[in-house]
Amino acid sequence: MSTLLGWGFVAALAALPLLFPDPYLLAVLTSAGIFIIGAISLNLLLGYTGQLSLGHVAFFGLGAYASALATLGFDIAIGFGWRLVVAPQPVWLGFLAAIVVAGGFGWLLGRLAFRVRGAYFVIITVCFAQVLRMVALNWVELTQGPMALISIPPFSLWWPGEGWIALYRKDQNYWLVLAVAVLAFLLVRQVVRSRIGRALVALRANEPLARSVGIRVTHYLVVAAVISAGIAGAAGSLFAHYVRIVDPDVFLFIYTVTMVIMVVTGGKGTLWGPVVGGLVFGLMPDLLRGTAPPEAQWIIYGTAMILFVMFLPRGIVPALVRRPS
């Protein structure tokens, strides 16, 4: 898709709250947008490195918890009678903390998981998210466990002439998510077009060959994992300050599956794939609301995944755009 068309699309989305100031529509688009950011980050691993990472929600959840805890402050025992006390920090610092923490865990998981491939890699990533969910459920002193972290402050931004403003309104949050989504998209595009991206595509196509011409396969995979995890962490932070409550269910496998469906149906390994898939599956729950029970939504998601993989394995975007991206 040409650059001009892309920016036109972004401009249309940015103008939307001015044309249709419907809070319900904006709320739906905002939560879809947060998942689209997650899908964009997952696409870097799933689409460009070809590694089926099914623990992606771990980074999203880590970001949400890191950001929420940094802005709420916490006071925990760390053994030997010592306590770690963190006073409440401003939200932008929480946002940074989310990226750093998620990225750090991305590095850790990358170092561990990229020692293996295929089914083994998939299972290690799934288990990783599951362990984090158990920790979030049981480390009550830090996370409040199933009682959830509540009263998380909304995102705040510095605005010329206004000073620091807290984003309570729907349209403000919508623009914030749109801005982060555009940044995530541009970052992934930059990575894909760089040396890193070419290395990733080479190893996706033929790993032994890539290795044999001197590409440091594991190094590049870990770099991709860190970037991808960092972006997912940012999405988690946006989620925490938008919904303003975080509980251990942010680590549920089903959210990873949602992001995977967005990437696979949209077109993995294409820049616009996660955006297109994300819009379709991010908006679908709300189109179905009232006409079908919530289970029906997931049944449709599952069926869509099966049908796409079987009949349109490359996804919507490559089917529309003939030119290879």
Partner: protein, 290 residues
């Protein structure tokens, strides 16, 4: 010491059903190269079918267990025919995505059909535990252990003594050579997936009356089945049996002596450690993994 003995008994009971789950998953992976994400849903399906037969149709308890297992096999055969047969030439990741989609459909289908409220399956066993020395065990749990071991033995006999068992072992080792030797791969795949699903459904039918039956019961169990299989070495049948009992013991002992809250987390931590340190598992299968 007494407490350790009690944990040993509990771990064995748990391990028996875990071994059933692990073997089903390994069999499917070994023969078909499919990472079966529907395994946990088949487990839930087995439990629900038992509930339906006992509570709604008023059938005999033992008959219901057998019926649930057979229905699980039928569902497995249907999944194989509809989804896996067309995907035979596809890569392992695509097949995995299809199976995740199928698991999503099955789980939410169950939620739709049965509602979110957990169900209790009545059973004919007395509620008072049998006490032998320092150890006590509920008769129902003992029954579960005996049946699991019987099923494990039956499965080994099937694999070792029958023609279809031989065909499965051959396909397990090398599908192409097996096909050249006249093994009908489609037929072996159907039988494999049906038996694997049947084992999962049987585990669900057996544990359903011990715990409660709910639509999400398959989630954790499906992941634990992966843990068992990794523990034993993906694609190794003796490994899956050992892995099943090992996970049962780890959960019981770590849950009893280290931390009850993290009981379910130990299995997953164990997998990550094993994959990081010794990715070929406890009983390595002959296969490239890295």
């Amino acid at each position: 010491m007494d407490q350790a003995l009690q944990h040993l008994v509990n771990g064995t009971v748990l391990g028996g059903t875990y071994a059933l789950l692990g073997i089903g998953l390994t069999l499917v992976f070994g023969v078909m190269r499919v990472v079966n994400f529907t395994h946990g849903e088949l487990y839930a399906f087995g439990a629900y079918m038992t509930y339906a037969a006992v509570s709604l149709l008023g059938l005999d308890f033992y008959l219901s267990l057998a019926l649930a297992t057979l229905l699980g096999m039928a569902l497995g055969a249907a999944i194989e025919f509809l989804l896996l047969r067309p995907m035979r030439r596809a890569d392992i990741d695509s097949t995995m995505l299809v199976m995740i989609g199928a698991a999503l459909v099955l789980q939410n289908g169950e939620m739709w059909a049965w509602g979110g409220v957990a169900k209790l399956i009545p059973n004919p066993f007395p509620g008072t535990p049998l006490v032998v020395g320092p150890v006590s065990v509920l008769p129902l749990r003992l029954f579960v252990l005996v049946v699991s071991i019987a099923l494990l033995l039956g499965f080994w006999l099937l694999l070792d003594r029958t023609r279809i068992g031989m065909a499965m072992r051959a396909t397990f080792q090398d599908p192409e050579t097996a096909a050249l030797m006249g093994v009908r791969i489609n037929w072996v795949n159907s039988a494999t997936f049906a038996i694997g699903s049947g084992l999962a459904a049987a585990a669900g039918a057996l544990l359903g009356p011990v715990f409660m039956v709910s639509p999400t019961m398959g989630d954790l169990v499906g992941l634990k089945a992966f843990a068992i299989v990794i523990l034993g070495g993906l694609g190794s049948l003796p490994g899956a049996t050992i892995g099943g009992f090992a996970l049962g013991f780890v959960e019981e002992f770590a849950g009893g002596f280290v931390s009850t809250e993290y009981r379910d987390a130990f299995g997953f931590l164990l997998i990550i450690l094993i994959l990081a340190l010794k990715p070929q598992g406890l009983v390595p299968a002959k296969e490239r993994i890295g």
